[in-house]
């Protein structure tokens, strides 16, 4: 081959590889910073690291310690309660608000940012505001007393059994607007022909929503579920800002547990083990979704 054609074919090869080359840096970054670190954490969970990483392999001892901690069970239980309520209420409330807003409301432009703005606030801000709001001595309870309703009590924040529900309240407040926005977008994307046909057939509004609209929003439900599930599992900042994990350790969640054992209690091995369990939970939720998602596409094509 002549040099000209070699150069040509090299350039040609480069051009064909260009898309992959453009994608490569991002992928490399993700490989290192996500998967590399996950592997590092998995390795650490098999060591007895205390304060800083200690790379001596010790088998499952950290996991044994992990499952011997009563706090861990509290954390898992709280995640279950919080996750279910948070996701359920956000989706329910978001859908309701979206349906209501979709009814040709004149002040939609005003209402939408009102529902959406809590998402803009950082958890420190949200936690501070809600902590004050729900504080029996300073917030809602005191205000109700001042207004004359003296038997009103709302001491969930300081009640060991009920404190987790205050976190649900603050978290729902923060995220339901976003869920509303994606449901609204989804509703507006529904083909009006289908609706009209159903109306001509005499179906009531309720039936239309139940039988046609909501099933067609299935992809949106899934997206909302994913975003909310990931926020539920990650929810460290909000818990710390609102209750600090308390009263006692009543509002411990896996994220705060992992932080506490890794950084405060100098038991990095146990912290890493709890992180691995957290990641496994996340994977258990996300991977099936991704698989079904990308599989469907193949059918569409």
């Amino acid at each position: 081959m002549t040099t000209a054609t070699t150069i040509d074919s090299t350039i040609g090869w480069l051009q064909r590889q260009l898309p992959k080359l453009v994608l490569a840096p991002s992928f490399a970054v993700v490989l290192l910073f996500v998967y590399g670190f996950i592997l590092w954490t998995i390795y650490l969970s098999f060591t007895e690291s205390k304060m800083m990483p200690n790379y001596g392999f010790t088998g499952l001892s950290a996991y044994a310690r992990l499952w011997a901690q009563p706090n861990w069970y509290v954390a898992l239980q709280n995640l279950g309660i919080f996750g279910t309520l948070y996701i359920g209420i956000c989706i329910g409330l978001g859908l309701l608000l979206a349906i209501l807003l979709d009814q040709r409301i004149r002040i939609e432009g005003l209402l939408r940012p009102i529902y959406l703005y809590p998402m803009a606030l950082s958890f420190i801000v949200t936690g501070t505001a809600w902590q004050w709001f729900l504080n029996p001595g300073l917030g809602l309870e005191k205000t109700m007393h001042e207004w004359g309703w003296t038997s009103f009590t709302f001491d969930w924040l300081i009640n060991s059994d009920k404190a987790i529900y205050t976190i649900v309240i603050a978290a729902v407040w923060q995220s339901s607007g976003f869920v509303m926005a994606i449901f609204l977008a989804g509703l507006r994307g529904i083909d009006s022909e289908l609706i009209r046909a159903a109306q001509i057939d005499g179906a009531s509004s309720f039936a239309i929503y139940r039988r046609i609209v909501i099933p067609m929003l299935r992809p949106v439900f899934l997206s909302a579920f994913i975003v909310l599930a990931h926020m539920a599992i990650k929810s460290y900042d909000l818990v710390i800002a609102l209750t600090g994990g308390g009263p006692g350790r009543a509002t411990e969640v896996p994220a705060t547990f992992m932080y506490s054992y890794t950084f405060t209690r100098n038991q990095m091995g146990v912290g890493a083990a709890s992180a691995v369990i957290m990641l496994m939970t996340i994977a258990a939720v996300i991977v099936p979704y991704l698989y079904s998602e990308l599989r469907e596409r193949r059918h569409e094509q």
């Binding site: 420190i124 109306q199 992809p219």
Partner: protein, 297 residues
């Protein structure tokens, strides 16, 4: 344009329909009040004097309004030993967030473009792997990230923090752009290729100009997440180059002394202003962008 189910008359005639309208508006307004309440409390508290806060009820409007707390929070509050308020940290955050958002958005756009218009075997797997990165809890990566940044020599600096945020934002930005470009008609691309346009020209001349809505969604999402992050900011840029959230935390979480709630609330509002502004101004584009397929199934 709303779904036409709304236009269907409810059984029972016009009277019931009017009642329904009232009920709907009523419900919406009630929710609006509930959503606004914490913001109202924060705002109102930030304009009160400390005595008023201790004595009165939190929903009351300030009897002797003052902007002292705001001036204090911005310019004179003590964050550690330096008593110059939050303003320096505000600019730190801006200096960090703008490049991070710009870079992660641009990279996400490229990635979405490649993954949809230049498919290669295994593209689905690559996408799935990148997407998983959205879900990793930050505490898990703190120590290894510190080690890596240290080796790169950019630990405890703004560029280091930018790298961290770009790395963990790539999953989301790629998701948004990929879903958006997926719906982009391939005919236009094919026509351009026939005309001899190459990889970059197609991107910059054809895709990017129509990407307005999704760029807005991505920028809003990234800006909010990065601006509001605390953990990475504290760990990788403590001290003089701290972002706003770290400074706010120092202001609010002091363990001794009188708690100046009004200054805390004013500080929190200052911290929230940029994101709030972005949401309010670009809010309608947000929904439009979402409709265009940011989070379509």
């Amino acid at each position: 344009m709303s779904s036409s189910a709304a236009a269907a008359p409810v059984a029972g005639g016009v009277g019931t329909a009017w009642l329904w309208r009232v009920a709907i508006y009523g419900a919406l307004l009630l929710f609006a009040v509930i959503y606004l309440l914490p913001l109202f409390v924060m705002l109102v508290t930030s304009f009160k004097t400390l005595d008023e806060i201790r004595g009165g009820d939190m929903l009351q409007l300030p009897q002797q309004p003052t902007i002292e707390p705001w001036l204090n929070a911005w310019g004179t509050a003590c964050i550690g030993l330096t008593c110059e308020g939050l303003k320096g940290y505000f600019w730190n955050s801006i200096r960090m967030v703008v490049p991070a958002v710009a870079i992660s958005t641009l990279l996400g756009a490229f990635n979405g473009y490649v993954l949809t218009k230049w498919r290669f075997p295994g593209h689905r797997l690559i996408f799935a792997m990148m997407l998983f990165g959205c879900f990793i809890p930050f505490q898990v990566v703190l120590v290894p990230m510190a080690q890596v940044l240290g080796k790169l020599g950019i630990a405890n600096s703004t560029p280091g923090l930018i790298l961290v945020h770009v790395a963990y934002g790539l999953g989301f930005t790629t998701l948004f752009f990929r879903n958006y470009y997926e719906a982009f008609p391939n005919e236009l691309i094919k026509a351009a290729m026939i005309d001899g346009a190459g990889f970059f020209r197609i991107f910059f001349r054809i895709l990017l100009p129509s990407s307005g809505p999704i760029i807005v969604v991505t920028v809003i999402f990234q800006f909010t997440n990065i601006w509001n992050d605390f953990l990475f900011g504290a760990s990788f840029a403590a001290g003089g180059s701290s972002p706003m959230t770290v400074a706010l935390n120092n202001l609010v979480s002091s363990s001794t002394g009188v708690k100046e709630y009004n200054v805390h609330m004013a500080g929190a509002m200052i911290a929230a202003l940029p994101t709030l502004l972005v949401y309010v101004l670009a809010g309608r584009y947000f929904v439009r962008g979402l409709m265009a397929g940011a989070v379509k199934g």
